[in-house]
Amino acid sequence: MSVTGAPRPRRPWKGLGRPRGQPSSEARAAYAPFLWLAVFFLVPFLLVAKLSLSDVVLAIPPYAPRLDWSQGLGGVIAFVRALDFDAYARMGQDGLYLAAYLSSLKFAAVATVILLLVGYPLAYGMARCRPSVRQALLMAVILPFWTSFLIRVYAWIAILKPAGLLNMALAQIGLPPVDILNTDTAVYIGLVYAYLPFMVLPLYAVLERQEAGLLEAAADLGCTPLQSFWRVTFPLSIPGVMAGALLCFIPMVGEFVIPDLLGGSGTLMLGKTIWTEFFSNRDWPAASAVAIVLLATLVIPILLFQRQQTKMMEQR
């Protein structure tokens, strides 16, 4: 009766019914996105790596050497010979790059800690509400994530600028004005504001799943609410803390829009460095070298994040 033959094996013996070495139809479904990502994600990275070994020239595109296929193998050899580590050497000599690198890491690390301090109580409070209220609050946290990042950062300029809304409010209650826009403080405010949903969502996901019975048991055994928080709730929420911290930290290290719009000329961050090298200085090899260094720094956090994503998907 069946056109396709023998009944299909159920998981986890999936694939046993197939001839050896022939991929399942699901694996074949993944060919198209696999190919797409290989061409538009993997290959471009190799190009960045290659370009970081090239030299700047006054031409379009502004780098040399270019691979000349018409020369055959000789062209390839000449091309490889012309590659060097000049862009990296320049980075090492110029203290500005190192300063930008360290200050990016500092901005991202400090902002991640502030995000945890702000996001945890919010996620915790949400998890303690009635389910219907919880749903509405969850929606309220997700909504800003859908609205434009650029616009949300822009909204802070009107608040923080010298004649802005914050100083107007301060004047109303008789306090002296503050000058925050174009300082590091403004960058921190922007980072915390823009990334708060990314911190709250994973935290909320783990806190919401925790059994109320656990806290009751802790209370029965004589824990004060504070003790049961530190001994039960918090340790169980560590996966959420990790996911939230990684989800915020990694993109914040390379953030461009926030330091550019809210920070001052003294605010150094790698995302801004890459942008400036590329668009203003037209030094493509330098921009590529900075990108490679940034990527190398983020490889370990990114791998951690991937492991956690995979684990979470398989746990469900």
């Binding site: 139809s25 993944a30 990502l37 702000v118 859908w146 719009l261 998907m313």
Partner: protein
């Protein structure tokens, strides 16, 4: 976790939500300000909205942005659904680790790196930058978000249903289209919405990959923002926020109704 929220919990929620929404609310309020000075209230007016619709450069940019977002979201949703199927169902296959790395990495990868690398690809191949290059770049970015959204739904879907259809003689594509797809449709729709809004929103990747003829709305807004706060930007921002909020809330309510209507 049950037990009602304490006073501390309520304070945390109120402060947190206030922090999230106050800047947006202020921006919306001041978009209706008659005065050109952004911080001085000069009475209610919709003049900045009217002037937006006469600004042809802005309208052209909005049109480019919508087209890019529509095409890239559609492509990303198709590719993302296929990728999710592969990741959830195919078990182990050669290159699986590489594949799952490539699908998760762009979620957290700094946008400057993605933008720069794609630009170098386009330059080395020698294609002119414009509509198609931005579209490809946005598809690459949003494909990963689409994969994660569909994947989350797919892992909770009982595969036995589709297997039953196949045992009854349906070819794989038909079993998928008639059994699995209707089940994961809400997630596929959500993936499309997410991809669409991410594309609407993106500044950094579009700046690297767009050409002279394909200036997107965020690029226009960004160059205006660099010159300072203006009521025009407030008005266009309010329009965008309203558009996206309406869409998201509509999808949310639709999902709620379906859930309560289901037996």
């Amino acid at each position: 976790m049950r037990r009602g929220p304490s006073a501390f919990n309520i304070a945390a929620i109120v402060l947190g939500m206030g922090f999230l929404y106050l800047p947006i609310v202020l921006l919306v309020i001041y978009s209706f300000n008659e005065s050109r000075l952004v911080t001085v209230w000069g009475g209610f007016s919709t003049r900045w909205y009217v002037s937006q619709f006469q600004n042809e450069q802005l309208l052209a940019a909005a049109w480019v942005t919508l087209r890019v977002a529509f095409v890239s979201a559609t492509l990303a949703t198709i590719l993302g659904t296929l990728a999710a199927l592969g990741l959830v169902r195919a078990g182990r296959f050669r290159g699986r680790t590489l594949f799952s790395s490539m699908t998760y990495a762009p979620l957290v990868m700094p946008e400057v790196i993605l933008g720069l690398s794609l630009l170098l690809l386009f330059v080395s191949v020698g294609v002119a930058r414009g509509f198609w290059t931005v579209m490809i770049a946005h598809t690459t970015l949003t494909l990963c978000y689409a994969t994660v959204v569909v994947q989350a739904r797919l892992v909770s879907f009982d595969e036995a249903l589709e297997e039953a259809a196949r045992d009854l003689g349906a070819p794989p594509w038909k079993a998928f289209a008639l059994v699995t797809l209707p089940n994961i449709a809400p997630a596929v729709a959500a993936a499309w919405m997410l991809a669409f809004t991410l594309s609407l929103d993106d500044l950094v990747i579009a700046s690297f990959t767009s050409g002279p003829g394909a200036t997107t709305l965020p690029i226009r807004i960004y160059s205006a923002v660099r010159l300072g706060v203006s009521p025009e930007i407030n008005a266009i921002s309010t329009l965008l926020i309203g558009l996206v909020a309406t869409g998201v809330i509509a999808v949310y309510l639709l999902n709620m109704r379906r859930r309560t209507a289901a037996p």
